[in-house]
Symmetry: C2
Subunit: 129 residues, 2 copies
DNA sequence: ATTGACCTTACCCTACGGGTAAAGGTTAAA
DNA sequence: TTTAACCTTTACCCGTAGGGTAAGGTCAAT
């Protein structure tokens, strides 16, 4: 009979997030006590743990949903899981490269900038062009 | 007398974005013709160009706003600009590191996964724990 | 006169909750 | 018994940076 705040503490999620996941149908509907308070049986805590893990691994809620469904599907093939992971890897690699590019040009501009009281600034100049 | 679609083409922004920037007060209010169509004088096109450049450099609209204000401030000190750039650099470095961590663990998990018809999958196992 | 391309406002949608309100429940101590 | 402290509920608005779409006004050419 764990309450939502206890579930939050146990899983590392916020109360807000837990209710949000319920609202979008990501997790099963928790039973309610007489006073309408949600409570969370084992199975639900496990779902929440799972979601937290996938989130920590960089997946968004849509991907977390797919992974959760796969995790609960005894007939799944590991190929399907691997596919999702590989997509995320590709995405991460692309994003990282982009950001490294940005970082590089930003660093270069910043090094050229005096950073003093003068108004002249190569960073601004680069954006005005 | 360039129209909004012409302004969009000239700057590489979307029409939607241009109207959005106006709505949030990021750029000056464009004058309207008799039929209420917006049109964009030189000065506005320059602002839009500037915003596009800062966006491309990885800044968000709040930061773009600050940079645009600095760019139009003759009394600015380049130190203020450099400060914003340095913050962004720190942020980018942090994000890149995080994502590299995620990428690493995801790659490791994925390599352990057979990716066949079997259900057993170390990726799922990692999330269940 | 009609078509197609353009413009307008207005509304809903995204992801992931944070913040807050207003209302009510539970528990333990004074 | 009351009170305080803490818990829960629903419900709304806020942020990012616009995308999508509807419904309608305008313009130039056919």
């Amino acid at each position: 009979m764990v309450s939502i705040s206890q579930a939050a503490k146990m899983t590392g999620l916020s109360i807000k997030s837990i209710r949000h996941y319920e609202q979008i149908g990501l997790i099963s509907t928790p039973p309610r006590s007489e006073n309408e308070y949600r409570y969370y049986p084992e199975a639900l805590i496990k779902q929440l743990h799972f979601i937290k893990s996938t989130k920590d691994a960089g997946f968004n809620l849509k991907e977390s949903r797919a992974l959760l469904e796969l995790s609960e599907d005894n007939m799944r093939s590991s190929a399907d899981v691997k596919h999702i992971a590989l997509q995320k890897i590709t995405e991460l690699e692309k994003r990282i490269k982009q950001q490294q590019q940005l970082l590089k040009s930003l660093k270069s501009l910043t090094q050229q900038c005096q950073g003093d009281k003068q108004a002249s600034c190569p960073i601004i100049d680069a954006f005005v062009k």
